[in-house]
Assembly symmetry: C2
Homo-oligomer: 99 residues x 2
Amino acid sequence: MHIKDLTIEQLEEAANMLKAIAHPMRIAILSYLEDGKKLTVTEIHELLKIEQSTTSHHLGILKDKGVLCSKREGKNTYYFLKHANLSNIVNCVSKCTMG
Amino acid sequence: MHIKDLTIEQLEEAANMLKAIAHPMRIAILSYLEDGKKLTVTEIHELLKIEQSTTSHHLGILKDKGVLCSKREGKNTYYFLKHANLSNIVNCVSKCTMG
DNA sequence: TAGACAAATGCAAATATATAAATATATTAT
DNA sequence: ATAATATATTTATATATTTGCATTTGTCTA
């Protein structure tokens, strides 16, 4: 199956995933979740120096659009990449901006 | 240099590129521009069956954000990928939605 | 069960985006 | 110069997104 054969629904799903990623803070979040790393909301909120609720909101968007998964452990909720190869997207677009 | 070392400006540039791509019609446009292919506005407008002005608008966004380049030849303007590896982004996200 | 900590949600204001219709500009041919 | 074709821009309306504050929900521990 080839990209050109995607239905409008599949194009929309792909667009929604990319739209979820297409935000400076959310790209930063993904960059911290490479190699199967799992981080809590608080850890990300402190790493990025943004509000807890804003962090939670961003994570919710990424989860809702199928980019991240979450797993509750006690008081904490760990977030991690749903598909390892999603790091490629961030790597690829980063490369375009870095060089 | 690693992704995590991106400045806020670079994160924003990367986000702007992804935001430009993150639209069903614009993903479809990129899928037609694989392998260095060059297409005119009219060709894309007919392939995608969307308004000419809408097509031009989408192409303008992709060009403005550094995803596409354009080259005028007579009456026609040909659009093509700025970086070949940008196809990877579309391929990657497509794979996630296809299966 | 009360208190502390972690995360998620509802809300509102500011900002950004999408679409199409109408119009404008650029290029070629007659 | 004028007409025809290809693109681009302007404009307006509708819709979506971002952010932080305040609040709520969930979980553990004393």
